[in-house]
């Protein structure tokens, strides 16, 4: 099946190429003149033909036009416009260098770029942010943060401060595909969610796809966060960095061979003892990460990239409790132009997530992790000015280590135990076309075929019936005893899955300023993060689909209305979505997931659905910029009983997921007062997170026990806060090489005590029951100093 599919892809690409005759191709790379850094999403417009194209993730563009003389307009926010006349009589290379417009403008500094809205493109439900925008958004403790920034976008929420990950359109955190230079990142948080793992200095561009997800992405059902790292300046040595309240950063970039070979090396480290100034113990909590990238431009048609990421969190309470976790990735890529119309990228990616825990007071050492090797080959075929084909294949081999337990010292009573390692392979191939049917109607259609195979492992339980039994007598689900344990060979396929994932999107331009779009995407997710808490913890392990767990399957429908006016100064995006996820696993009451080697005994198969409306109103240009985002949505799940006599979970009724936030409002604004001062402000409001309040109490053996009703029927109080920031660029910067910048920020200006949780317990001193609210951050002022030379 898969082989036939590949043959089909090449056949399609060849046949389409044949139809494009009598035309010539203009192609090249768009770069920043000051650094040779390639630019993503630059508009290359041919006003005469009312057509154009956009540079891809590697700065490459290609457009095929009839023979003739054209005015080519290159537009990119934050950079000076380039207008050039070309006479196209044969295929032509045109590499474009853009100059930052900062120098050319006196008062107004326009820094945002790719966030411009493309009315005619079928791609919807996508938000882009540049590193520049991310750095302007005020955040807690002054540390610019990718994930905290995307939380200001419509349809994106989080479990609050100290909760890791993010939730897109009512999905869970593990349903987000997070790619850093194409490598999969399994845990996006440092320090249990206070910070994200991405160093904003090393990032060029981020894109968040919430719906209408292109066929080139797969493996997760909620969203794709695609992050590209910078390549390094191949013209001159540059250093930038920052000193903040929490962490310091340093990034060095420069040429190894001028204009040909560049490097980038960035590091970030937080200060130890950050949160643990309690006593004079040897307590420590810190994180660090390293980003590296090498780019070698072999010739016009070949580029090589080597990028790496290494991040670790270290947390220790004296010697008794030591916890280390983090991601590492290594990625080798080769960009090759087969012709001026056929761009290809081959990537070999290794990624590893490690989690380690040592508990000295029980004599216990625990290591777990997930490793994968990913080979990707992607093609972009710019067939004509109204037809582009993307296709490719992707193979990922996974090795899951759910945990190895060993004694940490000789006198420990712990017996070494290894949880069963799991192995799997995910193969996928895709083809998608972007097709201009008429001047006003553009269609994008494609399909992704995915195949997932689970291989043999050292221990596999066999059950008489189901791994989960229902105890009719006391009406609870219980773990079943396996009747046998088998040891299938590694080469044996225990179970495999094949899914066809169609993706369709269309854009219809009503006029110059307005368009409507619609999309449908079906996606499969083969990996599951085992977590029955509202927010994932680093202890949660990933598990592959297999004999007992089905892949999650998403169907998402979205429609949107898009408008730009006043020369793109203002834009409005309104979208509605509806999605369903099959095979969403749910956990029986009292399921213990940690170090559980027989996870199938505590899970049941359920489903999830989410729907809502999102509005995003933006002012993109001028001294005063910003956006207002509003989302009205609902996110629910249910797990019905497997037979008529079983109640399922929550009596088989739909209940709110922990990510259900009815109203979500965010406002982000920035104001350039002068060249010296820029001010920023955020305001966020979210309906409180669904939770459980006790419906009664009793006493058993001296313990006060709350009783509970249906799941997630109550809510925490609403979450809201406002943040302010002021950025000072001293005037003396202009005359010197060293450019300093001060960022002053206040998080949670009016000191709102937002509830991270409310717990109900007996006060041991008074003997009375209490509700105790935990809030993580009140008002937090901070100062960060950034520099560049």
């Amino acid at each position: 099946m898969i082989q036939r599919f590949i043959v089909f892809m090449f056949f399609v690409s060849i046949s389409v190429s044949l139809s494009a005759q009598q035309k010539y191709t203009l192609s090249g790379t768009v770069t920043d003149a000051s650094s040779n850094e390639t630019l993503i999403g630059v508009n290359i417009l041919i006003p005469q033909l009312n057509t154009g194209t956009v540079s891809n993730e590697y700065g490459f563009y290609s457009i095929t036009l009839p023979e003739g003389t054209y005015e080519v307009s290159i537009r990119y926010l934050g950079f000076a416009n380039v207008d050039q006349t070309i006479t196209l009589t044969n295929n032509q290379k045109l590499n474009i260098e853009l100059y930052e417009s900062v120098e050319s403008l006196d008062e107004v500094v326009i820094k945002e770029d790719v966030e411009e809205l493309s009315l005619g493109k079928p791609q919807m439900s996508v938000n882009s942010l540049t590193a520049e925008t991310i750095k302007q958004i005020p955040v807690v403790l002054g540390e610019a943060d990718v994930i905290k920034s995307i939380l200001l976008l419509p349809g994106v929420t989080s479990g609050g401060e100290g909760a890791s990950g993010f939730n897109v359109r009512g999905g869970s955190a593990d349903q987000n595909l997070i790619l850093l230079d194409e490598a999969i990142i399994f845990n996006s948080s440092h320090l249990f969610g206070f910070f994200s793992v991405f160093n904003p200095d090393a990032i060029k561009d981020i894109k968040l796809y919430k719906g209408g997800i292109p066929a080139r992405y797969g493996g997760r059902v909620s969203s794709v966060l695609d992050i590209y790292q910078r390549e390094g300046n191949s013209k001159e040595l540059k250093v930038e960095g920052g000193i903040g309240a929490v962490a310091s950063r340093l990034l060095v970039e420069g040429p190894i061979i001028k204009d040909k070979f560049s490097y980038l090396f960035g590091g970030r480290a937080s200060y130890a003892h950050l949160f643990l100034k309690l006593t004079d113990n040897d307590n420590t909590a810190y994180f660090y990460d390293l980003n590296t990238k090498l780019k070698y431009k072999a010739n016009e048609n070949n580029n090589l990239y080597l990028s790496g990421y290494f991040g670790r969190d270290v947390f220790a309470i004296s010697e008794s409790f030591v916890n280390v976790y983090g991601n590492s990735t290594l990625n080798l890529r080769w960009n090759h132009l087969f012709s001026d119309k056929l761009f290809s990228n081959l990537s070999l990616i290794y990624s590893d997530y490690y989690y380690g825990l040592e508990l000295d007071f029980v004599g216990f050492q625990w290591n777990s992790g997930i490793r994968n090797i990913n080979l990707k080959y992607d093609f972009k075929n710019y067939v004509s000015d109204n037809f582009q084909l993307n296709y490719g294949i992707n193979n990922i081999y996974y090795r899951f280590n759910p945990g190895e337990i060993e004694p940490n010292r000789d006198d420990s009573g712990i017996v070494a135990e290894e949880l069963t390692k799991k192995f799997a392979n995910e193969f996928s191939g895709y083809i998608e076309a972007e097709h201009g049917i008429t001047d006003d109607l553009t269609l994008s259609y494609g399909v992704r075929l995915s195949h997932f195979a689970r291989f043999g492992q050292d221990k596999l339980n066999v059950y008489a019936n189901s791994p989960v039994e229902f105890n009719e007598e006391i009406q609870i689900y219980e773990e079943a005893e396996p009747i046998d344990v088998i040891q299938p060979e590694r080469s044996e396929v225990l179970k495999d899955f094949f899914n066809i994932e169609p993706r369709v999107a269309l854009a219809y331009r009503l006029n110059d300023k307005t368009s409507i779009k619609a999309s449908f995407n079906r996606m499969a997710q083969y990996l599951h993060l085992l977590s029955n808490t509202a927010s994932p913890t680093p202890l949660d392990v990933w598990t592959p689909s297999g004999p007992f767990i089905e892949p999650q399957l998403l169907n998402q429908y979205a429609v949107g209305y898009f408008k730009k006016w006043k020369n793109n100064t203002f834009s409005l995006e309104a979208e509605a979505f509806y999605k369903t996820v099959d095979n969403r696993i749910d956990y029986i009451n009292g399921a213990d997931l940690i170090a559980n080697d027989d996870i199938e005994q505590v899970i049941l198969n359920g489903e999830a659905r989410a729907y809502g409306v999102e509005l995003l109103f933006r002012k993109n240009e001028g001294r005063f910029k910003g956006w207002l985002a509003y989302t009205l949505s609902r996110s629910e799940q249910r797990t019905p009983g497997r037979t008529a006599t079983e109640p399922g979970i929550n009596n088989g009724e739909w209940y709110n997921t922990p990510f259900d936030k009815t109203h979500d409002i965010s406002i982000n604004a920035s104001y350039d007062l002068s060249k010296k001062w820029t001010f920023g402000a955020n305001f966020l409001f979210q309906t409180g997170q669904p939770t459980n309040y006790p419906t009664g109490q009793y006493v058993y053996q001296g313990l006060t026990i709350p009783t509970f009703g249906l799941r997630n029927a109550e809510r925490l109080p609403s979450y809201h806060r406002m943040d302010l920031s002021a950025t000072l660029n001293p005037r003396k910067n202009e005359s010197r090489n060293w450019k300093g910048q001060w960022v002053f920020s206040i998080y949670n200006v009016y000191n709102r005590m937002n509830a991270a949780s409310i717990r109900f317990e007996e006060n041991t001193d008074t003997g009375r029951n209490e509700a105790i609210r935990t809030s993580i951050f009140g008002i937090v002022p901070s100062v960060t100093y950034n520099f560049k030379f």
Binding site: V415, N589, T695, R711, A755, R759
Partner: protein
């Protein structure tokens, strides 16, 4: 294992701020609660039985008093011999005590019957064996607070048998559970940390044998009683069903548990 999540909460609470707040909570669930945990206290002499049957009703979460259930018929039947132990509520406070002392035996099923308010409730159990505590020593490790007192508890698990243990650290409601999965057949030492304990306080620590079902039940209760905290890392809680069945109307179930456990005690003075 679950307990270690607590550590994350502790980390969070270091920067966090906690405050008692007023919350309106619903109350829609009035049920009978049967608290019937019997201990067979093991010693060099004859073992003795400790325990009674407490009958009460659930109440709104912020109520100070829980209503006792009076005038119930309570008895335990030895299903092997058919012998019956009667329980009576002498003080009219919902606490039913045995009229005769019966030493529970291993491998014998005992059935508890409670007839109250027109319903008959039944639960059956067996005596669950356990092992003695070998030693308890004081330690000086500091984890959270310098004033916390560390005690190191050592016991020897019996191999080739799945054992579940309940530890009672005294003071009425300091409980902890552990299973032998990671130390089957080994001598095992772990540390417990007392908060706010004055020097010279005598403490009795008990090791109590429980079976898998009771262990699962206790784990959830301890978690939900607030000893384990709460917050973003908390699993969605649900009312915990014990082993008691309403034979008159199965939907109108009772809460609580009937258990009989071998128990060894060990006393120490914390200095």
């Amino acid at each position: 294992m679950k307990k270690f999540i607590v550590l994350f909460l502790v980390i969070l609470s270091i920067t966090a701020c906690e405050e008692v707040v007023d919350i309106d909570v619903p109350f829609d669930d009035e049920r009978l609660v049967i608290d019937a945990a019997f201990k067979l206290i093991m010693s060099e002499n004859e073992p003795t039985v400790r325990g009674e049957v407490r009958l009460l009703k659930t109440a709104p979460f912020f109520d100070d008093e829980l209503p006792p259930v009076l005038d119930a018929d309570v008895f335990i039947t030895d299903l092997t011999t058919g012998q019956i132990i009667e329980f009576t509520d002498a003080n009219n406070d919902g606490v039913y005590s045995a009229q005769t002392e019966e030493i529970f035996q291993l491998n014998t099923t005992y059935e508890l019957t409670v007839i109250a308010e027109g319903n008959t409730y039944k639960a059956s159990t067996q005596l669950v064996p356990t092992v003695p505590i070998d030693t308890i020593e004081l330690g000086d490790t500091v984890i959270f607070d310098e004033d916390d007192k560390e005690v190191k508890i050592t016991f020897t698990d019996i191999g080739a048998r799945e054992d579940y243990y309940l530890f009672d650290f005294g003071f009425d409601n300091l409980l902890g559970t552990t299973e032998d999965r990671f130390y089957d057949g080994q001598e095992f030492t772990f540390s417990y940390f007392y908060e706010d304990l004055n020097e010279g306080t005598p403490v009795t620590i008990s090791i109590i044998g429980v079976d898998k079902q009771h262990y699962d039940f206790l784990n959830l209760l301890i978690e939900q009683s607030g000893q384990d905290g709460g917050g973003p890392f908390e699993a969605p809680p649900a009312t915990v069903r014990g082993n008691i069945i309403n034979t008159t109307n199965t939907d109108d179930f009772a809460l609580g548990y009937f258990s009989i456990s071998e128990t060894y005690e060990f006393s120490i003075v914390v200095e």
